[in-house]
């Protein structure tokens, strides 16, 4: 190879993990692109943690600026949506060698538990990772109802 910048196999075996091949199988099966149905061209990866006080949701939104991100909550469903776009100036007059990154709009929803304080949800964007902190309400005291048995 004399010229250019080219892909190199990082000693990656062609047959990767079983999960990947399963993903591929499903991708092929759903080749009609069901995501278009949900108005999303790609889906960001999401992590969810719980430390007792808060629930943390992290989303991989690499390359997306704060102004292009939207977080909404409705009926205990949290939706992260936005758009990943290349600067127009950059894409023009350019020969594409490898294009693997997913561009365009996305929308991903996760259902969250009932006991989250909706008013005090915090969102932070750092290094391409969106972190949402959802504080939990103290567990409601059990209302004891005494029933006299006659």
């Amino acid at each position: 190879m004399k010229f250019g910048l080219t892909r190199k196999d990082n000693n990656v075996p062609d047959v990767r993990t079983l999960r990947n091949s399963m993903d591929r199988l499903f991708d092929d099966f759903f080749s009609l692109s069901p995501m278009e149905f949900f108005d999303s061209e790609w889906l960001p990866a999401v992590d969810m943690y719980d430390d007792g006080k808060n629930i943390y949701i992290k989303a991989d939104v690499a390359g997306i600026e704060e102004k292009d991100l939207n977080v909404t909550i409705q009926d205990n469903i949290m939706t992260i949506s936005g758009q990943r776009s290349e600067e127009k100036k950059e894409t023009r007059n350019r020969g594409c060698v490898i294009s693997e990154r997913r561009m365009g709009s996305f929308s991903r929803s996760v259902s969250i538990p009932d006991n989250v304080k909706h008013d005090s949800i915090k969102a932070e964007l750092k290094n391409g990772v969106l972190t949402l902190t959802l504080p939990k309400e103290k567990p409601a005291k059990m209302n004891e109802i005494k029933i006299d048995v006659k």
Binding site: M1, K2, F3, G4, L5, T6, R7, K8, N10, N11, V12, R16, T17, R19, N20, D23, F26, D27, F30, P34, M35, W42, L43, A45, V46, D47, M48, Y49, D50, D51, G52, I55, Y56, K58, D60, V61, A62, G63, I64, E65, E90, T91, N93, R94, G95, C96, V97, I98, S99, E100, R101, R102, L125, N127, G128, V129
Partner: protein, 125 residues
């Protein structure tokens, strides 16, 4: 559904190493390489060129706390590593790197000699 995760395993460490997705564009003057490495701060990034091989390795700074229960995980606490072969048209001393919003942009400039040159024709009457 269609997650674009390519996982490899570092056999020595038995830790997840992810091959990040990339975009490469070529112009007359340079190659622009973009890699998605969410969760990586500047100081955890290592870029090296050795024997026509450009290697980018990065470590995510997302830590898992002991008291945090992981409910669901698709991407956190991963290491990233990817190599590319670079040709002799690329000037190794002129590589620029920029990290912004989890996307690493590398600009690899071409040698002056391989850039297209416009030759002016002088008309002699």
């Amino acid at each position: 559904m269609a997650t674009d995760k390519n996982l490899t395993y570092n056999e020595n460490l038995n830790k997840k190493v992810y091959v990040p997705v990339a975009d490469i564009y070529e112009t007359e003057d340079l190659y622009s390489l973009k890699l998605e490495i969410p969760g990586v701060p500047k100081e955890n990034l290592d870029i090296s060129i050795e024997n026509n091989e450009l290697t980018i390795s990065a470590k995510s700074s997302i830590e898992e706390k002991a008291d945090e229960k992981c409910r669901y995980s698709e991407f956190s606490s991963m290491d990233y590593k990817r190599s590319f072969r670079i040709g002799s048209d690329i000037d190794r001393s002129k590589v620029e790197a920029k990290l912004e919003n989890g996307v690493l942009t590398l600009l690899l400039h071409k040698h002056e000699t391989v850039k297209p040159r416009k030759i002016t024709i002088n008309q002699i009457n």
